[in-house]
Amino acid sequence: MGELSGRKKGKLRWSKLYSFSCLRPSISDPSPVQKLFGQPGFSRVVFCNESQLHKIKPYKYPNNYISTTKYNFVTFLPKALFEQFRRVANLYFLLAAALSITSLAPFNPVSLIAPLVFVVGISMLKEAVEDWHRFLQDLNVNSRNVKAHTGNGTFINKQWQSLCVGDVIKVHKNEYFPSDLLLLSSSYEDGLCYVETMNLDGETNLKAKRCLEATLGLDEEPELKNFTATIRCEDPNPSLYTFVGNLEFDNKSYPLSPAQVLLRDSKLRNTDYIYGVVIFSGPDTKVVRNSTISPSKRSQIERKMDHVIYLLFSMLVLISLVTAMGCALVVKSDMVNWWYLRLQEGDPFFSPSKPFVSGFLQFIRALILYGYLIPISLYVSIELVKVLQATLINKDIEMYDEVTCKSVEARTSNLNEELGQVEMILSDKTGTLTCNQMEFRKCSIAGISYGGDVNEVDLAASKRINADMERYQFSFARSDSITESFEMLEFSVADISIQKAALGGKEDIDNLLTGNSRISHAGKESVIKGFNFKDDRLTGKSWIWTSNSYDMTMFFRVMALCHTGIPIEEDQTGKLKYEAESPEEVAFLIASQEFGFKFLRRTQSVMVLKELDPSSGFEVEREYKLLNLLEFSSSRKRMSVIVSNDDGQIFLLCKGADSIILDRLDDHGRSYQQATSSHLSDYAEDGLRTLVFAYRKLEVAEYENWNSIFTRAKTTVGPKRDELLESASEMIEKDLILLGAAAVEDKLQKGVPECIDKLAQAGLKFWLLTGDKKETAVNIGFACSLLGHNMRQFHLSLSKEVENSNQVQAMKDDILHQIESFSLAMSEERSKNAPFALIVDGKALEIALRSDVKNHFFCLAVNCISVICCRVSPKQKALITRSVKAYTGRITLAIGDGANDVGMIQEADIGVGISGMEGMQAVMASDFSLPQFHFLERLLLVHGHWCYKRISKMILYFVYKNILLGLTLFYYELYTAFSGEVLYDDWYMVLFNVMLTSLPVISLGVLEQDVSSEVCLQFPALYQQGQRNIHFSWVRIIGWILNGVVTSLVILTMNIRILSPTAFREEGDVADMAHLGAITYTCVIWTVNCQIALIISHFTWIQHVFIWGSILSWYILLLIYGALPPSYSNRAFHLLVEAIGPAPKYWMVTLLVVVVSLLPYIIHLVIQRTFYPMDDHVIQEMKHFRKDIMDNAMWLREQNNSKTTTHVGFSARVEAKISRLKQQLHHKKA
């Protein structure tokens, strides 16, 4: 059957059916661009089918290999090194390492070089691994196969990368074009083919491309054997919608237009195969030219971290200056007299005669010495932690989509913590919020509404009301009235058990929940794809007994005949599948099939239906002669077919937007208008897309008369053609008789309204950017509860006259005027706390984003609850994103699935791609890819929140611990006459960041959870901590710096005070430099590790092992280091075993100093928790006391209290529904 219909379909000449776009008279006069060929910019010459000619210059073009890698084997080392040393900190350490070879350095060279090599090495390894992944991805694309012509009329598989310009290839249905092609011929007789350009511009409707008449004949493989032609065309450029060129074939020259060009990464649809010639390949293709190098993004925290590093640098310079000045002073005044130094021998570092030189040298030495202030391992630790975080995000089973078998993928690990700070979400519609799949949901025929089971909003509302009822102890008798009120919900088909579950007040909440999930599942997963409709009145055959069965028959006929679809194949149950230009039509065709009006086949002029005859109740096959097809266009907003049935009766069947059709009704055709209108508004409220069906019976004479006018218009050549066609159709599409309306649902992705609801509660704002038309966008706005009926909608669009005038100034004035009036309205109504929504048209947006209007526009827009931009081009999406970012300074997240979202995804602070769909462009450009939109909730609220807290805590702790160590060195300098002597052994310090303190902070960065993931989701308000950035504010940063300053002072002075000058052991031994160093260092290690134990609020065994293990490792290190021969261990030789270990004072000092140095922080923490607790503190405490289990009411109350009232989202709709129901209840009582 499939084979059969395929061939049949191939014979169709679409140009005969279509009135507006097809069968354009070919323009014969040579256009002025012809002269341009051969000139610069138009120099490309392609020898079709002779790709060997392109092997030599000047016609040598790049092959079809595409590379997105950053490095290759040769460039990796220099490039990656350059990248590494662009970081100030790394550059500093490079200089320090270079200086370490000189006598300037206070440490030995290895201890300076080794950490740097380690740190840079790890970062470079990460780069290499990432680039390798990119390479593998490229390889995957490059090695796809396509059928290419070999020269003797046969086609063999060839890899994409080996395609050359001039190759003739054959692309089959649902395959991607490997490069930019010139269409030679297609499986259709008239060389038409359909292309889906979703990856290029995100538009989901199919586009028709048409080959030249001249190449029509090349549709068989043997024909191509001897085919040669030359194409002269423009040079490669990024413009997707233009193409200039001509084809020299058979000694004739034919002009080429974009209609003949098939672009790489678009997909062949509805067409069995095409033949094409490669004109642009690889890097020359338009889509590659269009792709911008994805900018490397850095998170806000990381940018702020740079400032912290600068602050530390200035601290470093400051204390180095102090040291240098101190040194110069001491050298000049006192040191001369220190005979034991023998300064007269001449030492540039301490030269009393040249104190400034000494001071300067000491300054440099101090810069290296205090380098411990700069956390060298911070970058590498953060990178490591982020990679681990990303791994955990990827592994989260809660974000695994079983349908597509894909899970969340953090493609760059740079932005994990940024996820916790997002304030604006810019979302694409198709494929992101919606599945790009239409489902037939409801219809209103002859004034009666059919279909429509319970939706989630109704359920949630009824559940809440029930809960309320129960709470207020309604008597059982009164619950009758409640039941009545629910009958008004039009539970027309809801099965009884659902009603029971929803109404049975006695059942507990758990039961309700499970019941609900069952319902929503049953509702979601319709057995038939595209048909989610339950109403026995229609799906059974009982409707044929109703009084108005004629209208119903007509309704179904319109549904089955007024379209451009084709049946393609039959499944096992005998049901047909359809293909059409828009998914809506497919939904209608499937629905009409279900209702008993099966569209069987289409030939050039006949459409065959198998329809239910209401008079007999049997199915009969009927043929309709298709006379004319007035196709859909966005300006007409309607589509009509003119058909004649077996009896010769001629009908005009029309479907279209309500605003258009209702105006064109006959006075006698308005009998159902009122009922239909009210149904229409009901449907629209549920976010359904509605179409109104109408028909008209034509007299033969009238038709003949009109047809002649129409045919004349159709064959007109010239610019007036469209106008003539338009007016011709106006003439016939009038005096219609209304049949009813049908509502299809642009099926939302799973969990979208709930997700938006949660995100709104977390304080996120939502902007919807879509290429779709306004009506669709608004529909979706309602469906995913971005719009509500209590919202005041502002529609910003250009008026017709202004738009036509095409004068920028006038447009500006118009927009400004509108914005002003909206702002005025807003300030008037602000007091009433009414929510506002802004809906912007693409044209208007273009004006509104101009620099002088922009501020007004954003001023209005940020005050609106939700903003919907429709008819937005990919460029504009990126522009809006950039402007929103710049204007609000907030962190934006862009989410989309198609190539049209790439710009926006790259522009936003965080780009998220939906990976469930076929196209990969968005995913490739994104920072995170999700298989489902609703995973965004968990990604942001749980992982974002965690990562934000982890990274900020981690950085602050890093700063603290390095200041702590660095400053003890500085304070000690004061005791050594600024001579640059170091208290600790070199190796102690090298291992400080590498071993002794690194693992706990990494475990903090990877595993810390302030609250569990469930709580994160229960209290979305916690997310606002990230938005307000309270965990990485300057107050906190300074606080931690001060903590480090104070703690280091405490540690060093207390040690000195306790250990000198008297003996520290029973035997009377005094502590020398080695002992004091080791004891002080012990205190440092204990303090920093205990400090992190205070920061961490979530201890698994890993944290325990790391923290206490780090402390233990210090003693082990001392033991091992001390056991080495003295030539290696020098001062540390036998230190622990012989000297400090047996001394009780050593252990007592450690205990005292650690407690004292942690006390300030503990007291701060206690005061904060007791008197100024933050949300997470409260929740932690409640969790700790198991309030969530013991006192559920309190737990839920807290949850509700923490919720900010939002005007968008699911819960807002539930609120609205409840208030409506209550009103109705009151009404009824009264």
Binding site: N337, R342, L392, F1064, V1070, H1098, F1099, K1145, L1165, E1181
Partner: protein, 331 residues
């Protein structure tokens, strides 16, 4: 302060099914799902009060014990650098100390107020002497100290590395500036024995200073720093040198001179015959002689005990304040 809340809530156990089919161990699964069992200590008022009370309860006794130990130590400190200069040289101390022809003998009387139990450590204390100066600290060769003349590279010893073209053993500024005051103690006209052995760390004697290394060419130059060494005694037995070579961490330091291994009664007067050779006058340093007994905590230093008591009592105070606050307005 790592008081666990004790609520080791095993999050991963309930609810989520552990994917057994994939064969990954349970712990790994819990790790990747971030649901490892964890204890989540929370600083609740109860814990705060208890913790502070606990710290106080531990610290105050510890403080009292260590303060007591420190108080029991008897310490006699005698500054002698100024007094040991004859009247006529008072105005020019440096000239006096540099003039080797003048005898530097000096006698001091130490009054003992409290019974001193053996062993009594004898220290000399130098103030304002920067043994921790970088130039000074680096000017030594550990290899040479261990291997003697066999080890040739003494560049680190600059500027005291060669004399008359011959290497110096021990080289470097530290050894060169060896402290050379000597002390003799007489009690009731009977000389007290000072044990000058075992004053250096055993590890130094055994592993850092060569048993076969003898001083060579030491203090032979034009510039004489401090003390001289007996060239017949190997470095490993020159304990004065070993002690001196252990550079002090701070500009004011004590070094062990020897131990008196007999008790000294209260009100005894000890006559100290000392030779005041070491030059601290040019840089205004002080020289002190210290006699001290020791406790299990070492020498006399009240700071540790006082600090413990102070921290302990402040913790108790804080905990009481929090307790009152908590009683007044509980959560």
């Amino acid at each position: 302060m790592d008081a666990d809340g004790g609520s080791a809530s095993a999050v991963g156990i309930e609810g989520r099914p552990v994917s057994l089919h994939s064969g990954q161990p349970r712990a790994l699964y819990q790790f990747t799902q971030q649901s490892l069992p964890a204890c989540k200590p929370v600083l609740t008022p109860g814990w705060v009060i208890a913790t502070f009370l606990l710290i106080g309860a531990i610290f105050i006794p510890v403080g009292l014990v260590s303060l007591h130990a420190s108080q029991n130590v008897v310490e006699i400190v005698e500054r002698y650098d100024a007094e040991c200069i004859p009247e006529k040289y008072q105005s020019n101390k440096v000239a006096y100390i540099r003039d080797s022809s003048i005898p530097k003998n000096c006698t001091r009387y130490l009054k003992v107020h409290k019974h001193m139990k053996a062993p009594i450590s004898v220290y000399y204390q130098l103030d304002n002497f920067y043994q921790n100066h970088r130039r000074y600290v680096k000017s030594r060769s550990d290899q040479q100290l261990l291997h003697g003349l066999k080890y040739n590279d003494t560049s680190s010893c600059k500027p005291e590395q060669l004399n008359n073209g011959l290497p110096i053993v021990p080289c470097g500024l530290i050894a060169w500036s060896l402290f050379n005051d000597t002390f003799n103690f007489v009690r009731r006209s009977e000389e007290m024995k000072i044990n000058r052995k075992n004053i250096a760390w055993k590890s130094d004697r055994d592993h850092k200073f060569g048993k076969e290394v003898y001083p060579f060419n030491f203090q032979n130059g034009t510039l004489i720093g401090g003390g001289k060494l007996d060239p017949r005694i190997p470095l490993s037995d020159q304990e004065d040198l070993i002690v001196w070579m252990r550079t002090a961490a701070l500009p004011s330091f004590r070094k062990l001179y020897g131990r008196i291994e007999e008790d000294i009664d209260a009100d005894d007067v000890i006559v100290v015959h000392l030779s005041n050779n070491y030059n601290t006058y040019s840089f205004g340093g002080k020289k002190k002689l210290v006699l001290s007994t020791s406790s299990w905590l070492g020498g006399k230093n009240n700071f540790l005990g006082i600090a413990y008591i102070f921290v302990g009592s402040s913790c108790i105070f804080t905990s009481i304040v929090f307790m009152l606050l908590h009683v007044k307005n509980p959560r």
